[in-house]
């Protein structure tokens, strides 16, 4: 941190503008694609694509706007760990719901 003071410029204004452009384009793609019926390819394709774009946008924001790219391992770890814990919550809750449907593991 303290020793970083000399090189804290990170990516500069052009870099920030590039990130901004990625985010706007990402938003535009999400919006357009939401009206296409991708579920006909396979069920859930729309959801998957929307979330994939959202994840990409989030990653870009975290890496460049939040400076995670230049941060210590601990910051990386806490960012990744929080999503891992979210995943635990989602996965272990949904495993109950997925298997509660009639016919699966029930009388």
């Amino acid at each position: 941190m303290a020793e970083n003071h000399t090189d804290h410029e990170h990516i500069g204004i052009p870099g920030y503008l590039a990130v901004f452009a990625i985010l706007i384009v990402g938003t535009w793609i999400t919006y357009v694609v939401a009206f296409w019926d991708l579920d006909s390819i396979f069920p859930g394709a729309n959801t998957l694509l929307a979330l994939a774009i959202a994840f990409t946008k989030m990653t870009v924001v975290m890496l460049y706007f939040m400076h995670v790219r230049w941060s210590k391992e601990l910051i990386w770890l806490s960012a990744v760990a929080s999503f891992f814990w979210l995943l635990i919550m989602f996965a272990f809750t949904m495993q109950d719901y997925f298997t509660r449907v009639s016919g699966v593991f029930s009388a």
Partner: protein, 558 residues
């Protein structure tokens, strides 16, 4: 560096300046940023809540003395056990060791002037008070009767007690807990003294690191759950109400996602205290340092994967039950590693049976019983028989009281000389440790049998055939009560009339024993530099215990 002379009472004098003498006004306490003063205020606050919770426990045990619901009506009884649970869990057990001993000792143990974020620390105390006052307000208004788990749809739709105020109190108190955990993690990462590497940290610090992880990752989930519950209750629209397509089991998932890891908030710090006490009073380097350290982290992580074992019979899928049951068995492994390592530490140690050690040995036995009965309850088949019986009540009291409360008492006695600079009466300390152990077992062991025979929990009355064991239990509770009140008396007495303890009354190598007792506001005169491993008992540290005890006129026990 310490030597035996420093321990000689004739050479001992009370320090002139300490954190206690740095200002006497009320403002100097209420606006302090000193972690030690905040810890003391926490200590007093949680004791108040503990004794209020204890009063409810007394009411419950008195009611259960006879089979009929004669002392308390059923509705009153519901409120009594609910409020006992809420006060004890949210306002005593969760902040107990972290907010008092952890707050006080973490900076001392790692050689820092204070926690990294002292204002956040003070804020967490105020949030605790606000949450506590709201809860007390609700209890005085008429209380709450949902059980401490607030299961829906009872809590959202049917209960007409003060669910909202208590829920808000717990919501606010949750942020107090989050901020404490956040502060600890930051402090452990950035405030360690030069030379204090991760594997030189006392295991108490490792345990608090694991606890803090759980606090940060779990508590927000229960906060949002209570928020949803509150919204559902107020505006009568909801996502937990089965009448309109909601799922009450979703509440249980979200609730236990926090509240199961929360039982590790309630036991991990206790394990940290026990690691300290066992090693130091056996005067032996702890056996398997890395194993104990990483088992704390493992418990914190695995603790998040097992919450569904609270829901085996509440309607979750059988497949989910199997998964959770299997993972519950897995989480027993790191707990067992700890117990094995503690006993291995004691093996061929030079054990002195001072009060903290008596508590610690009690902990070993009680935690073992509590942990093993947990395996019974984690088995998806057997639990059908045992769910909602007194077996469950006995199990979690063995872990929570036999574990955390006993460890808390061990820690309070162990570090009391450091906190106050005074020595308490060793005789009364031992008497109270014995009374607590005996009283506790007499109270809760009969409940295992009652539960196995089928006595359900949370009822004010029971069939007459269960009365004998219930009388035992109530008798034990009175012994336990006496044992728990005694420390208040003799510890308070020692503040005013105790002998000065000296900086290092137990002759130990830890960093917290190398500063003044009671410490000055900034803990250390100059920045300490750590050059020794944790729990290093050696002549080179000037820690010849036998010499020290002899010169203090105390028995040299082996």
């Amino acid at each position: 560096m310490q030597n035996a002379d420093a321990f000689n009472p004739s050479l001992m004098r009370e320090p002139k300046d300490s954190y206690l003498t740095n200002g006497y006004s009320i403002k100097s306490w209420l606006l302090t940023k000193d972690h030690k003063r905040i810890a003391l205020m926490y200590l007093i606050s949680i004791s108040v809540f503990f004794f209020m919770g204890g009063l409810y426990a007394a009411a419950i045990r008195l009611e259960l003395l006879t089979p009929g619901s004669d002392l308390l009506q059923s509705a009153t009884y519901n409120k009594a056990f609910t409020q006992h649970g809420i006060l004890m869990i949210f306002f005593f057990l969760i902040p107990s060791i972290p907010a008092t001993l952890g707050n006080f000792l973490l900076p001392l143990m790692i050689g820092a002037k204070d926690l990294a974020l002292p204002r956040i620390n003070l804020l967490s105390l105020y949030l605790y008070w606000i949450g506590g006052i709201l809860t007390l307000y609700a209890l005085m208004q008429g209380g709450v009767d949902t059980g401490w788990t607030f299961y829906t749809p009872y809590s959202t739709t049917f209960s007409n007690s003060y669910v909202m105020a208590v829920g808000l109190g717990i919501f606010i108190n949750g942020f107090s807990s989050i901020l404490t955990g956040l502060n600890f993690i930051v402090t452990i990462h950035t405030m360690r003294a030069p030379g204090m590497t991760w594997f030189r940290l006392p295991l108490f610090v490792w345990a608090h690191y694991a606890t803090s992880l759980v606090m940060i990752l779990g508590t927000p989930v229960v906060a949002i759950t209570i928020l949803l519950l509150a919204i559902e209750r107020v505006v009568r629209v909801g996502i937990f109400d089965p009448a309109i397509g909601g799922d009450p089991i979703l509440f249980q998932h979200l609730f236990w996602f926090y509240s199961h890891p929360a039982v590790y908030i309630m036991i991990l710090p206790g394990m940290g205290v026990i690691s300290e006490v066992i090693s130091n009073f056996s005067r032996k380097k702890i056996f398997g340092y890395e194993f104990i350290a990483f088992s704390s982290i493992a418990i914190a992580v695995f603790g998040f994967l097992v919450w569904g074992h609270h829901m085996f019979v509440s309607g979750q899928s059988i497949y989910a039950g199997l998964v959770f049951s299997f993972l519950t068995m897995v989480v027993a492994v790191p707990s067992a590693i700890k117990v094995f390592n503690w006993t291995a530490t004691m093996y061929k140690g030079s054990i002195s049976y001072d009060t903290p050690m008596l508590y610690a040995i009690g902990f070993l036995g009680l935690f073992l019983v509590g942990g093993l009965t947990g395996l019974f309850l984690g088995s998806v088949g057997l639990t059908v028989h045992l769910t909602d019986t007194y077996f469950v009540v006995a199990h979690f009291h063995y872990v929570m009281v036999g574990g955390q409360v006993i460890a808390y008492l061990a820690g309070i006695h162990y570090w009391w000389p450091k906190m106050t600079g005074k020595m308490y009466s060793e005789f009364w300390g031992k008497v109270s440790a014995m009374l607590v152990f005996v009283g506790f077992n007499l109270t809760f062991f009969p409940q295992f049998i009652l539960g196995y025979q089928g006595m359900p929990r949370r009822y004010a009355s029971y069939p007459a055939e269960f009365q004998v064991l219930n009388v035992f239990s109530t008798a034990g509770a009175s012994v336990l009560g006496v044992g728990l009140v005694m420390p208040v008396v003799y510890l308070t007495h020692s503040i005013f009339a105790g002998k000065p303890a000296g900086d290092n009354p137990w002759m130990l190598p830890g960093l917290e024993w190398r500063c003044q007792s009671p410490p000055t506001t900034f803990n250390f005169e100059e920045q300490p530099v750590v050059t020794w491993e944790a729990y290093e008992f050696g002549e080179e540290n000037g820690l010849d215990i036998e010499e020290a005890r002899r010169s203090a006129g105390r028995p040299v026990t082996v």
